[in-house]
């Protein structure tokens, strides 16, 4: 009974919220005039727009959106057009300029079409919450990326990301790194800058889910599991780059000894004299425990087989 009452209250609250959020009636006077009218003044933009994927949307507006083309983003342009380029005419400013709008408002313009797929979780993304607008990364009229991919403002996605996330520049250049610097991967292969349900906007429900989407060999499930491997690859690896083999977060054997302090060899202090032993040299612990991500061998409990 109490639970039902709570449910009714919650629904009522949501309904109230929806009602309070309902927009005021539209009162603007401008009307839609079509992209051709825009092209009469903005010839250069119109030219570059010919090879822009957004032009395609204009051809099938019945399935894309009610208003597409220039006015799909800039709003109805009759007033602006009527000013005939006269900036002193008050009507000249009666046009939406997303790059000059507040981030949330300009992103809402894009979201009027881009609400699903990659952009499904935009509203909950850290970028949206921290006032990053779509137009901060995307150049809608003309892209700088090869052949216009993603209509990005920079030719290389990673350069786009590190222009704000500068602290990642150094780690991406570390000796052990993923092929980001070489262009084999980009930040967007692991992170969805438009938001996701995972932490740090990763393209997976968990870090491990993301990693095994490429490293399927580590997905298991195995007969003998190594618990941190299953829970979070980032417990041992630094995906943005490190100074240790295999982008490990620390040098072996000390990384392993942060958890493995059993009697006998795991808790031995491997100091300089032990350089002659194979537990400090080369691959250290994984010289023997090579199946560290898990084993399916009946004799593989200690990841030796």
């Amino acid at each position: 009974m109490r639970r039902r009452r709570m449910l009714v209250l919650a629904l009522a609250g949501l309904a109230l919220l929806a009602w309070s959020a309902a927009p005021a009636a539209a009162q603007g006077t401008p009307t839609y005039v079509g992209s051709e009218a825009c092209a009469t003044c903005h010839e250069e933009v119109a030219d570059t727009f010919q090879n822009n994927a957004h032009r395609m949307a204009e051809l099938d507006k019945e399935v894309v959106a009610e208003h597409v083309g220039c006015e799909g983003c800039h709003g109805p342009g009759s007033e602006h057009a009527a000013a005939e380029g006269d900036e002193s005419d008050p009507r000249f400013k009666n046009i939406k300029v997303p790059s000059k709008m507040k981030p949330a408002e300009s992103s809402a313009v894009c979201q009027s079409c881009h609400r699903v797929g990659e952009q499904m979780h935009w509203d909950q993304s850290a970028h949206a919450r921290h006032d990053v607008a779509c137009s901060d990364c995307h150049s809608i009229h003309e892209a700088k990326s090869p052949a216009g991919k993603g209509l990005l403002k920079q030719a290389i996605i990673t350069n786009m990301c590190v222009s704000c996330h500068e602290e990642k520049k150094g780690t991406l250049a570390n000796t052990a790194h993923m092929p980001v610097r070489e262009g084999g991967m980009s930040c967007a292969d692991c992170h969805n800058p438009h938001g996701s349900t995972g932490g740090a906007m990763i393209r997976g429900a968990s870090n491990t889910d993301l990693c095994v989407s490429c490293h399927g060999d580590k997905r298991g499930p195995f007969l003998w599991e190594h618990a941190p491997v299953r829970e979070d690859c980032v417990a041992c690896h630094q995906p943005h780059g490190s100074n240790n083999d295999k982008v490990l977060a620390g040098k072996r054997p000390y990384l392993c000894q942060r958890c493995h302090s059993y009697t006998r060899h795991p808790s031995t202090l491997y100091d300089r004299p032990d350089l002659v032993g194979n537990r400090l040299f080369n691959r250290s612990c994984t010289n023997c425990h090579s199946q560290i991500h898990g084993s399916n061998h009946p004799s593989g409990k200690f990841f030796l087989r």
């Binding site: 090879n51 979201q111 052949a147 070489e182 000390y254 002659v276 040299f281 080369n282 691959r283 009946p298």
Partner: protein
């Protein structure tokens, strides 16, 4: 299908679409086409054969097509083709095609090489996939030598025989390549509806170094033969609608992913044996079986589905909810306990089944509500659940065979790992004016791990952020975060854990850092100043500190500090200068307790390790163009230096710290551009790169290690080498 076929197919499909699209070619009056390509020749020289130079790339030698892109649009059709390093090991080719707003097709193909070493040498021969053999004569000699004299004399004979054999070891390259082919079809059949199908095939083939021991002091390094493929297919149906500023989106996604390992086991010869035997002690020096057998990564599958709903009410409220389920399974047949025929117990104690029959169900859900309470204030509430439930039945083994050497009569029970992660948070953002914005976050993470030392933990984190824009061009940001992870009721610490026939036991006081109680503090500050479009300056820094106050052993403390400075200056329209400096310093402090067979709870056995790991990064560049843009010159220099130190200490004051290590990479590139014609440029490039390594464990890796003593490891000799490289290229870039 090999890489050339894939590339050819991609190009053929692209060209076919170019020709087949109705009215596409030839309708020049309305068709708009543009593109660019860069072609030329390149020469380079490398001082030492270090694979790092081409770790994830192929640096072309001779004539090559560096890149191309092409776009053509006409009426309903738009085609985009692009590629880089075509026909090289790191090529990428992509095609996108639009038919109006209704249909979009994407095809792309990428190759990512991973060259690990080009100097490895081995006496092993791969006689069939996954089977590595040694000459019988070598095995026979070594076995016979084990009958002579003292342990030291046996070792000396072994080292001598192996050294002779290794003199003739052949050189093999070590590395693999991942080939990824992707296809995507997006269709918008009716207003608001979108259907998307994606598929990808990821093939990986090659080798990578792999440890394959025969005993406690007999590490053998061979290679993992890699021949794997991964097939993924996803279908998604979405619906979106916006009416009166209110929006709704609904999305169903389902898919499968299958991993297939074409080489499911690795069999390799033991250099010390020509006939099978068993060794009484668990601490065998490798005198047991003729060969070893290892299970390589098993085939596995994943099936998943999820649904996502998004609602927006004007610009005030956005609600998102998702729910998903996935099932991962694995039923690769088990290998026998061992291939050592001398271990009779294998017949006495049969395996408890034929495969793991592993099954995991992952449930995830999220709920997020963003509410714009005032025009300049938002409140965001979020909850996320990730439940990894292992439904694999436990398997009880009567014992196991340690490194194919000896039967260990200790019952082992397999246990599937499972855990549940619940994260709930509230974020408040308020911008009272354009000059200031404030944000606060409260977040709680609950973790349940029924099979681990801490069964239940919770972490509460509070974060505050302030953004200041005191004047035009200024942006300052400060952030503080404090988190506290602790055990929660019903999840008390239990470290009875691991007991292996009473020979190895857990040290009391050891708490694993991925679940131990932890206090985390993070500070972040940055200032950006951009008074005009001509120049900008940014300075930032972060500090992170993790304290594991309740831990006596294991990781006790970790600190990370970063600093960055970036500057861009454009004194004239024709000259641009940029530079950046970055610094990252990570310090860890850990402790352990040395012991033999039993734990000695005394400070006399305690040791500590204080490790520092730094990265210092510099980058400077310029771009200049002559009046009228006929000539252009640009350059970039960067250096990444990463020194690390390893300070070790123990109660007895006998510990000797390790030598410090350092990795350093420098590169410089200068490009001269001359515009021959309005659409054609001539480029000259010179690049220099230097890589210096000082690392005790990866430099000078011998084939047999050490040359004397009882620890006889056979390695691949894949030392990391210093190198210097120079590259010169002459290229023609044409746009059309």
């Amino acid at each position: 299908m090999n890489r050339k076929h894939m590339t050819a197919w991609g190009l053929l499909i692209g060209l076919a679409m170019l020709v087949a699209a109705p009215g596409f070619v030839g309708a020049a009056d309305k068709s708009v086409a543009d593109g660019t390509f860069t072609i030329g020749s390149q020469w380079w020289d490398l001082s030492q054969p270090e694979a790092k130079f081409e770790e994830y790339r192929e640096v072309p030698q001779g004539t090559f097509l560096r890149d191309f892109s092409f776009r053509q649009g006409e009426k309903r059709h738009l085609l985009r083709l692009s590629g880089a390093n075509v026909f090289k090991n790191d090529q990428s080719v992509a095609m996108a095609y639009w038919n109006g707003g209704k249909v979009r097709i994407d095809l792309d193909y990428n190759q990512i090489p991973h060259n690990i070493s080009s100097i490895t040498r081995t006496p092993y021969a791969e006689v069939s996939p996954g089977v590595l053999t040694l000459p019988d004569t070598l095995q026979a000699t070594n076995q016979s030598n084990q009958s002579f004299g003292t342990t030291a004399q046996k070792d000396a004979r072994y080292v001598a025989a192996m050294r002779d054999a290794l003199l003739n070891a052949r050189r093999i390259g070590m590395g693999f390549r991942t080939d990824i082919a992707r296809a995507r079809l997006r269709v918008r059949p009716a207003a608001g509806w979108q259907y998307e199908m994606k598929g990808s095939r990821r093939n990986r083939s090659g080798t990578k170094p792999y440890g394959a021991p025969f005993g406690f002091s007999s590490a053998i390094e061979i290679w993992e033969p890699i021949s794997q493929s991964m097939l993924d297919a996803t279908a998604r149906l979405s619906y979106q609608r916006v009416k009166n500023s209110n929006g709704m989106s609904l999305q169903f996604t389902g898919g499968v992913s299958a991993f297939d390992n074409k080489i499911d086991k690795l069999v390799w010869d033991n250099p010390k044996r020509i006939s099978d035997s068993t060794y009484a002690s668990a601490y065998s020096p490798g005198d047991g079986s003729v060969r070893g057998q290892m299970d390589l990564y098993p085939d596995n599958r994943s099936v998943f589905g999820n649904v996502a709903l998004g609602l927006t009410f004007g610009t005030k409220v956005a609600l998102n909810a998702t729910g998903g389920i996935a099932q991962n399974t694995q039923d690769d047949p088990w290998l026998p306990y061992t291939v050592n025929t001398a271990i009779a117990q294998v017949d006495t104690f049969p395996l408890p089944g034929t495969n793991t029959n592993a099954k995991v169900t992952i449930t995830n859900a999220s709920l997020n509500m963003a509410w714009r309470v005032m025009p300049d204030a938002t409140l965001n509430g979020r909850y996320r659940l990730y439940d990894y439930k292992n439904k694999t039945e436990e398997h009880i083994f009567d014992g196991y065979v340690r490194m194919d050497q000896v039967w260990e009569p200790f019952q082992e029970i397999s246990e599937g790992v499972e855990y549940k992660d619940q994260t709930a948070g509230v974020d408040a953002d308020w911008s009272p004016s354009r000059k200031i914005s404030l944000a606060a976050t409260a977040e709680q993470v609950l973790l349940d791990r029924p099979d681990r030392e801490y069964k239940k933990t919770k972490e509460m984190a509070l974060q505050g952020t302030v953004h200041l824009r005191p004047a035009a061009g200024w942006h300052m940001k400060g952030r503080i975060r404090h988190g506290n992870r602790e055990e929660r009721s019903g999840g008390e610490f239990d470290s009875t854990g691991y007991l292996d026939g009473a020979t190895i036991i857990e040290q009391p006081g050891m708490k694993k850092y991925d679940l131990a109680p932890r206090v985390r503090d993070r500070y972040e500050a940055s200032i950006a100043y951009s008074p005009s479009e001509k120049w900008s300056l940014s300075v930032g820094g972060t500090s992170l500190q993790d304290d594991y106050e309740g831990s006596e052993l294991g990781l006790l403390e970790e600190k990370e500090k970063t600093g960055t400075i970036g500057v861009e200056f454009q004194p004239t329209d024709r000259l641009q200068l940029m530079g950046s400096v970055g610094w990252v310093k990570n310090e860890t402090f850990q402790a352990s307790r040395e012991s033999g067979a039993t734990v000695v709870l005394s400070d006399t056995t305690r040791w500590t390790a204080e490790l520092t790991d730094e990265t210092i990064y510099w980058s400077a560049g310029f771009a200049w163009s002559a009046p009228r843009g006929k000539w252009g010159l640009s350059g970039l220099f960067d250096i990444n230096r990463a020194p690390s130190t390893y300070d070790l200490a123990n109660f007895k004051k006998t510990a000797v710290s390790l030598p410090s290590t350092e990795y350093r990479r420098q590169s410089a590139t200068v490009e001269l551009r001359y515009q021959l014609l309005s659409s054609t440029s001539l480029l000259g490039e010179w690049a220099w790169e230097a890589y210096d390594v000082k690392d005790l464990s990866t430099e000078n890796v011998p084939l047999i290690f050490p040359l004397t003593g009882s620890s006889n490891a056979v390695f691949l000799g894949d030392s990391v080498l210093d190198y210097k490289a120079q590259r010169v290229a002459v290229l023609l870039r044409r746009t059309f």
